[in-house]
Each structure stands twice: as C-alpha cells, then as structure tokens.
Amino acid sequence: MRKALLAASTALLLAAGPAAAQQKTIKIGFVSTFSGPTAVIGNDMRNSFELALDHMGRKMGGIPVEVIYEDDGQKPDVGKQKTEKLIESDKVDFIAGYIWSNVLLASLKPIVDSKTFLVISNAGPSQVAGEMCSPTVFSTSWNNDQTPQAMGTYMNQKGVKSVFLIGPNYAAGKDMLAGVASTFKGKVIGQELTTWPSQLDFSAELAKAKASGAEAVFVFYPGAAGVQFLNQYAAAGLKGTIPLYTAFTIDELSLPLQKENAIGVPGAQEWVNDLPNEQNKKFVADYRKKYTGLRPTYYGAQSYDAAQLINSAVVLTKGKLDDKVAVQKAMEKADFKSVRGGFKFGPNHVPIQNFYLQDVVKDADGQLSLKTVATIVKDNQDIHFSKCSMK
C-alpha cells in the first residue's frame, strides 16, 4: 500500500514537473484592507480587479493569471510585512492595490529595492509623485492633493470667501488640506487634524468650525469616518447653515449610510459611475450584475484600470517580464481603454486627468446615487512631478 502510494505520488510529481516549467503564470500580489471597519473598500477593489480578470478571460497575453490578495488591516507595519512576503516568498511579477497613503509609504522601499512593478490603485502620497518616484512605480489613481485642488477651484467659482478645513492626521489628510489651501483664493480661517483612525466623534471640531465664522467647511474623511462626519454635521445643525465641500467623503459605499445627509454636498472626483464611455458602461453594468446589491466606487474603477494597465504591458512585451526596461516602456504607453475615457501618464507615472464635480441625486430606481455635474479641471497634472528625477 505504502509503495503504491509512493509510486503514485512520484508519477504525479513527474507529470506536474515539466508542465510547471512550460506554463508560466503571471503572479500579481494585491494589498488592500480586507478586515476591520474599512474592509468594504478592500472588497470593492477586489471585486473590480476580479471583474477585470473575468473580462480578460482570466488570462493576460494568453498566460493564466494568479492573484494573491493580502490584507493590510489598515496598519502600515502589517502592510509592509505582507508586501515583503509577496516579494520574497511568492515572488510576484506585479503588486497592485493600497488604499492608505501611510501603508503605501511604509511598504514602498522593499518594492522599489526589488524592482517589482507596482500599480497603486488608490493611495497617492505627494512623496511618491515627487522625490520618491521610481521607474517601476505607477499609479492608476491620482496624487492626494489633485482632488482637493479641484475642490478649491470649484469653491472659487462659487465665490466662497473663507473656509474651515477638517481632516484626519495622517499622510493623506495633510496632503488633502494642503491641496485645497493651494488653489483656494479666499481665506483659510482655521484647520483641524484629528486622530486617525480612532477618533470618530467630531463634536469638538464642529463646534470650532461653527465658532470660527467661516463661510464654508471643507472636509476629507474616507470610509466609515465620512458617514459619521456627515451625520454629526447634520445633527449639530450645521447642514443648511454652513455649506460643506468634500473630497473622498461621499462614495457608493458610504452613501447608503449617509442617506439624506449627503444630499446637496458637492464632491470632486476623477471617476463617476455615469462617465459616458463604453468601457465604463460595461464596467458598471457588469459589476452590478456580478455583485448583486453592490455598486462600484472610484476605488474599484482605479483597481479595474490597474488590472488593465498590467494586462496591456504583458500583451505588449509578449509576456517577457524579465526585461524590466521593456515592461516599463510598455506600461508608460498606458495602451488600454480606461473607464475614465482617455488615460495618459505624466513623467512621474501619475495620470494626467480630468476632475469632475459630483452631486448626490435619486436615480431611476429611486436610490441615492452619484452623478457628474460638471468638469472642474481638464488634463490636470500634479504639482510634484518636477521633483521627480526617475532614477
């Protein structure tokens, strides 16, 4: 019996051996948050990435794709460990994902040192667009300050004279508040940074904003914190008295919880579900078909584009991923149909793109949803690219 088993397993090994050597797979590591209160964001990114793979027949350039999803738990140290595991033990060809700027900054060094190709599908710390840019690092999202800069421009258009800024105290929060302050022509009366991610009661900050006499409030709170902020804004009696302007605070994940409190609160975004291009229509329709009851967000759209970007590079290089320079050149071409319409990279591998004004409306099904109202800025490039030397 034992001998038979041994013989059988040897036969299996022999059979599997040559096959493995012939058939190369494209290995992609995907780091995001899949546990804790912000797991819904990670799930949306994974859903969209999986949908993109479905659309490609789960092959890139004829080669099967294997994706390893890793959970960073929204913690920089965990994110770094998981990234190192993907590089050293899984030996992945590409890494994608990252929601949080602080997690990305902690994980960046091992990726850059090992020359693994990275496609960031959300986080956009200003350092990565500037002095810490790298030939193997690409972004399908934005730099942190671009979206709030667009919001600042919109506030100028609305004739707002003074603003109070509130955001979380971590890499992205600081970038966001600096971003809105850089384009806003009126006076920034006050600014509050709150403990992130633990602080969820904003009563002290809201009272200060009210007492400051500012004409408007700008806020950046991604995920569940955005729900809490909008609810407390309404409960404190500020909604309707002080107009609120946002970035990354209202999306398809938070809207079902924010409900009426989000109506009439404008936001800036580079992708909205109703952008009129074929790829986007397909993405949104198939997402809603595959994941019943769910709607894709910009996090998902960026992850969908990340899968497409990787695919385009594999196709252009015919799967020869060892030639790093060729892969880099192929990725820089960004030869794919983005759900945003056109897609092109700046010299620092951050997209040059439009930013839209989005508003909350009731759609045909009577459900609250986001709608594009106007284009705030066209072909916007981040302000850090000149600091990027691409070595």
Binding site: E192, L193, S203, V227, Q232
Partner: protein
Amino acid sequence: MTLFIEQCLNGLQFGLLLFLLAAGLTLVFGIMDLVNLAHGSLYMIGAYFAATFAAWTGSFVLGAVLALVATLLVGMVVEVVAMRRLYGRDHIDHVLATFGLILFFDESVRLIWGPAGLSLPLPPWLSQPVQILPGVFYSGYRLAIIVVTLLVAGFLYVLVMRTRIGMLIRAGASNREMVGALGVNIKLLYTLVFGLGAALAGFAGLMQAPILTVQIGMGENIVILAFVITVIGGVGSIRGALVAAIFVGFIDTLGRAFFPDLLRMILSKEAAATAAPALSSMLIYLLMAIVLVVKPEGLFSAGQK
C-alpha cells in the same frame, strides 16, 4: 464663550457615555474579579441590536428598549456559557478567553449583518438642534444623551445604595468569600451583575450609534478608555467611575478643542497642527499615570483586598 459652553457640553456628554460603559466594567471587575476585554463587544452588540430592532419596529425608542433587553440576555448567556469557567483563575486566562470572545463576536456580527455596517437614523424630534441659551444651539440628541445617562446614573445609585441586591453587590465588591459563606446565591448574583454590565455597555453602544455608524470593532477603542476610567475611579466603585468618566470626557474634549491653540503659541503652525492631536489624546493617560502614582488604588476604592 458660547464655544466654551458648547465644548463643555460635548465633554459632559462624552464623559457620561463613557460612564455607562465603565460602570458595567467596574462592577464586573470589582465584584467578580474578572477582566473582561470583551466589554466593548457588548457595546457593539447593543448598537447592532438597536439598529436592527429600530428598523423592524420603525420606532427608535422601541428599538432601543428591545435592544437593551436583548443585550442583557446575551450578557447573561455569555456569563453562564463562558465566564463561569473563568472565576478563580489567573487574570491572564481572563484576558485570553475574553480576547477570544472579541474575535467570536466580531466574526459573528460579520456573518449575521455583513461587513458594511449599519446606520441607526434618529427620529425627527431628536435630530433637531435645541436652543439652550439665546443664540446658542446644541444638538438635541446629545442633550438627550446627557439627560438619559444622568437618569441611569441615578437609577444605578438607588439600585446599589438603597436595595437589597445593591447591598449584596457592594458586599461582593468588598469581600467575595464572606458573601458566599453567608449563604448568598453568589452564582445567581454573578449572572445578574454580568447581565447588568452587559446591558449598560449595550446601552452606551445604542446611544452612541446614531452619532457614529454601527460597525464591527466599534467598541475596541472606547473600551480602552473605560479601563482607564476604572483604574482612575477605583475598581468596583460606581461613584469613582462617574467622577473619573466625567473627568476623562472633559479632558479629552477640551484637550482636543483648546490644546492645539495653546500649542500654536509655543510651536510653529505646522508642528503644532501635527503634534496637537497626538498630545491631546495622551492627556488622559497622563491623568491615569498621575492617579496611579498618587493614589494607586484609584480615587474611590471600593474595598480593601
């Protein structure tokens, strides 16, 4: 000045809410000598129950009452099934077992309600801002929290100081063995006390739910503050928990509100903006350290062991 009044109310509201959480914790810790890390999970369960029942019944108040009863029952079941096996064991065993309970509750909630979280909408009569002084408006719901928690504090005072059960609870906090030796059904008392603690935690959770979202892990940060309050107030002392909770609420809120401005006078604007949130969240722990140095048994110690 109106800003100061408003921030004081915020501090009072937060402190009283923390009191609800800490009162249950200090009772369980003091009487049953049980370190219950899963207290925050009961807070979360209370919020989830309230959101579910309020959606079913269509009434916020009815949902809250049902949630309170349900959390009480969950607490008593947890005591009978899990906690009973831990009495008389080492504190390390308590920590391990109740940490396991946290994971159990988090995963159960994920299975039952999903990972996305719920919202508990307020009825219109509670969501209106109220004029407290001429020209000063304050969130009506936060005001309601202050009133209701003060009522609960009064109820607890009467329960603990004026009733037979309260007498047994106090006796249990001072000397557990003697109470048992005198023929009191200590098992039943423990189940009741644990259920009461759970209901208080659940009550805190459901009161906080409309302000925050109902989500997995919502109790984990706030339970740390409840432990700090238990230490400052003295283990087993309800009065200590009340005083310490109000202290902590005020320090946390006023620290967040005015500390950055103070810091801005000494430091540069950027340094102050970055350091202030970190430093003001440290103030509470500083208070705890000072209390531990000056009065290691807490401000109001329930009994000598």
